[in-house]
């Protein structure tokens, strides 16, 4: 008897009888009994489990969002209360993939609306209903570029999030894809000269981030002008920034991917977040992931279903565009609720304040001698030169309740001692002053 398992002794007896066996063990005759139980503790009641897990939670340090200046792909933004309340509806949480569309219209319509929102933000024509995260979405975009072009060489800006590039390499290696990393220039943007000289007939795609890992805003227009039309142009975009920055679709992007965590999702120690994936209609059949489309029922009423499933693994098997099955639909819900609540104006205010706070902070830091390394225009993150002992200082800030700019010289060795500072709309003038003070100590 267990609180999650309803069977009484009496019922077990009746059921065994119906089956025609005399014991539970009889149901497992084919199974080689290799163990006699696990070497793990016995079960516990809720009260005790809570104590254990709460104990672990207390071993982490929780920072006030206002005091966080660490971004690097995961951002603290203000999340309206209504988001968690609406997202916690068990009819969303405990439903599965909408295999039976008629009892899954909630899921399907929500995802259709999510797709629309992502199209709007990116300026693209089609979005899928989610990928695991920004990194894997980026990796899949390279695989897709190969499917589109039949070519296997990729030019990838070195200023794209280092983890994204690592994941991309892991994903693409078995396909014989070669990734050539293109250096940034002194603005922090992709070096257009190197890019130009790296172009050739073999190139499948060029990928840049917008803004990039340094927070610097790539000039998509300039990049696109450099790349021939038959090369797939991939943009890794930060979605909040797109309320302020021109949509990549306007610059001829073929694929726009990114991480959607900043759209109403808590940091979650890095996961779950969500990868978004958008492209043009002409490429849609090469696209990975689940897509929801609008249709009608047999009475002519509007409804939603999964479409273009012949691209997917459960039908196409080894010829599928991707192996993805479970995705991050629930996080898409959070994105959709957040975007519905904020609207175009709210998202723009968030983007503007993030931008402005970062720029005010940059000025404050510059006044204290923390020089910005890159000259290019930035969104809400920027790289600063820091003293040699900065890493130690970074750890010490914890005692002041501050989660400071993260050292980045281990991944970008040539930069020398440097750190990536981040601001969003949750930081205040006061908290920025405090940071500057602590950093200047």
């Amino acid at each position: 008897m267990h609180r999650y398992i309803p069977h009484t002794e009496e019922e077990i007896k009746q059921m065994l009888q119906e089956i025609g066996v005399s014991s539970i063990d009889d149901l497992f005759v084919d199974v080689p009994k290799t163990i006699d139980g696990y070497n793990i503790p016995e079960g516990r009641d809720e009260f005790t489990v809570k104590k254990i897990v709460e104990g672990l939670a207390k071993e982490n340090v929780h920072f006030e969002p206002t005091n966080v200046f660490l971004g690097a792909g995961v951002y603290y933004h203000y999340i309206p209360s209504v988001v968690r309340h609406m997202a916690s509806n068990p009819n969303f949480v405990t439903a599965y993939t909408p295999y039976q569309a008629e009892v899954s219209q909630g899921t399907l319509q929500m995802l259709f609306e999510y797709q629309t929102m992502m199209c709007e933000l990116t300026g693209m024509e089609v979005a899928n209903s989610s990928m695991y995260d920004g990194a894997s979405a980026f990796a899949e975009s390279l695989l897709m570029a190969t499917r589109i072009t039949g070519k296997t060489k990729m030019l990838v800006a070195e200023s794209i999030n280092p983890e994204y590039r690592t994941v991309a390499k892991t994903y693409t290696k078995p396909q014989g894809i070669e990734i050539v990393e293109i250096k940034y220039d002194e603005t922090g943007r992709i070096d257009l000269n190197i890019l130009r000289s790296s172009l050739s007939e073999e190139i499948a795609a060029v990928a840049v981030a917008y803004p990039n890992f340094f927070g610097v805003i790539e000039d998509l227009k300039a990049v696109r002008e450099v790349i021939p039309q038959n090369i797939v142009f991939i943009v890794v975009a930060e979605p909040v920034s797109l309320a302020l920055l021109e949509a990549p679709g306007k610059f001829g992007a073929d694929i726009v991917v990114g991480e959607g965590q900043s759209l109403g999702v808590t940091p979650n120690f890095g996961g779950p977040g969500i990868g978004f994936f958008t492209t043009l209609e002409k490429h849609v059949r090469k696209m990975p992931g689940r897509i929801i489309g609008e249709t009608k029922d047999l009475e002519g009423k509007k409804g939603y279903v999964m479409i273009l499933q012949t691209r997917e693994q459960h039908i196409r098997r080894e010829k599928a565009t991707s192996n993805i099955c479970s995705n991050q639909a629930y996080i898409a819900l959070i994105n959709a609720i957040y975007l519905s609540t904020m609207g175009p104006q709210g998202l723009k205010e968030v983007a503007w304040r993030s931008y402005n706070n970062a720029h005010v902070l940059a000025k404050m830091l510059e006044e204290k001698g923390f020089e910005r390394i890159f000259k290019g225009e930035f969104f809400n993150e920027f790289v600063i030169r820091v003293p040699d002992n900065y890493r130690e200082k970074w750890h010490n800030m914890v005692k002041e309740g501050i989660l400071g700019p993260i050292p980045v010289d281990r991944v970008y060795k040539t930069l020398g001692p440097s750190a990536l500072a981040c601001a969003t709309e949750v930081n205040t003038k006061e908290s920025m002053k405090k940071l500057v003070e602590v950093m200047s100590k």
């Binding site: 999650y4 309803p6 065994l16 089956i19 025609g20 009889d26 149901l27 497992f28 084919d30 199974v31 139980g37 016995e42 516990r44 489990v49 982490n60 340090v61 995961v74 203000y78 309206p80 209504v82 609406m86 997202a87 969303f92 039976q100 569309a101 009892v103 319509q109 995802l111 995260d133 999030n161 994941v167 892991t170 994903y171 396909q175 309320a243 021109e246 949509a247 808590t266 120690f269 890095g270 996961g271 209609e281 489309g293 249709t295 029922d297 047999l298 009423k301 479409i307 098997r317 192996n323 479970s326 629930y330 996080i331 819900l333 609207g343 175009p344 104006q345 706070n357 750890h395 205040t428």
Partner: protein, 477 residues
Amino acid sequence: MTIFEKSVAGRKGYELPVYDVEELTCEIPQHLVRKEPPMLPEVSEVDVVRHYTDLAMKNYSVDRGFYPLGSCTMKYNPKINEDMAALFTDIHPFQPRETITGAVKLMGHLKELLCEITGTDDMTLQPAAGAHGELTGLLVARAYFEDKGELEKRRKVLVPDSAHGTNPASAAMAGFEVVELKSGEDGCVNLDELKTHLDESVAVIMLTNPNTLGLFEKDILKIAQMAHEVGALLYYDGANLNAIMGRTRPGDMGFDIVHLNLHKTFSTPHGMGGPGSGPIGVKKHLAPYLPVPVVRKTESGYDLDYNLPKSIGMVRSFYGNFLVMVKAYTYILTMGNKGLKHVSDMAVLNANYLRKKLSKLYQVAYDRICMHEFVIDNEEFAKKTGVKTLDIAKRILDYGMHAPTVYFPLIVHEAMMIEPTETESKMTLDKFVEIMEKIYNEAHSDPELVKKAPYTTPIRRLDDVTATKFPVFRFKK
């Protein structure tokens, strides 16, 4: 009505704090400044609430009732799991190491528990879903063979024709050539068929055990031996682990790589399709190839080990779907050793009870003792009545339950794959049988009724053919 149609220009549902920071001028080059705002909804908070409340009510869910999707393990998701996950939402993955001790420890504990449950030696928690785990596992296998200098010759991955579609898709993504193994007459791997394909060109054999017919591969030890004799690796698709807990372990059966679906066996909710979590456990010889970071026990606790020179790299950013791990960890703490065995015992009992009851009217493919699920074969039924598996599925919806998985596994035509899970009571199963009886009778007395089902759902049967032919990808004004 879509949220976009509820939008009215100028309405709003948010408010940001009074802004006390001096405002600088925007220095973004003009051509990079957005000209037209995105068409996002402009609605008030109550509009948001009603829209998503309305959508939620149009969904069926485990919290509403029986959801017997085969191979999906739609078991009850305990509420405490959600509460526990909520304790970890505000930590940043790049916080200084000393500020995330609890989170790393939790991953360490979870890994140890799952290694014990799978009978493996090391594990990555990074993959975000089952298929992601498959890909990771195959990349590990690939790195292993590459390291041994055998990658050139080991081009093939053997996959039974009853396998999940993700298996061949993952193998292809990992750069292998997929060879399909035809199942034997008993629904299991046919050893002769296996022999004809098994040689040193094989890198990996991917199996789920029990297989997708709900049958335990009784020759599994033999298969493992054969695989290992030619130097191939044996991969375990953990989708069906719910059947065997407490009695055997994939590692003990000879599997070298095991992926798990935390969102299936370990009761984390499916969230309309995700997030899931697909950790993979491996035997010692494959540990050096796992993606970084790997959580490791140290003298003082646990740490994140990035120092794996032979690692395949990373398969996603950070550490995986951490909140899902918290839920699974909570579940394992709750169930414990005997509890997990009880889970499998009752899952298998439920499947067999349902199989037995339904076999009185419907044809069960391979009608013998099954594990946690079984498959109904409606081919004859459809011929006789004109009512297909899809129709039956839709009609089930009318009676207030979710339909089983349909048209899978592919080797059974008109398949209906039923996995009741252990959290369903006899009362619920009997109710399902009653519904299936009703539909059986309807199919014989009034087939048209069934073929036009459903009737009571928020919407009638949808036209997905046109939807794909003339796709509408997004809302447009």
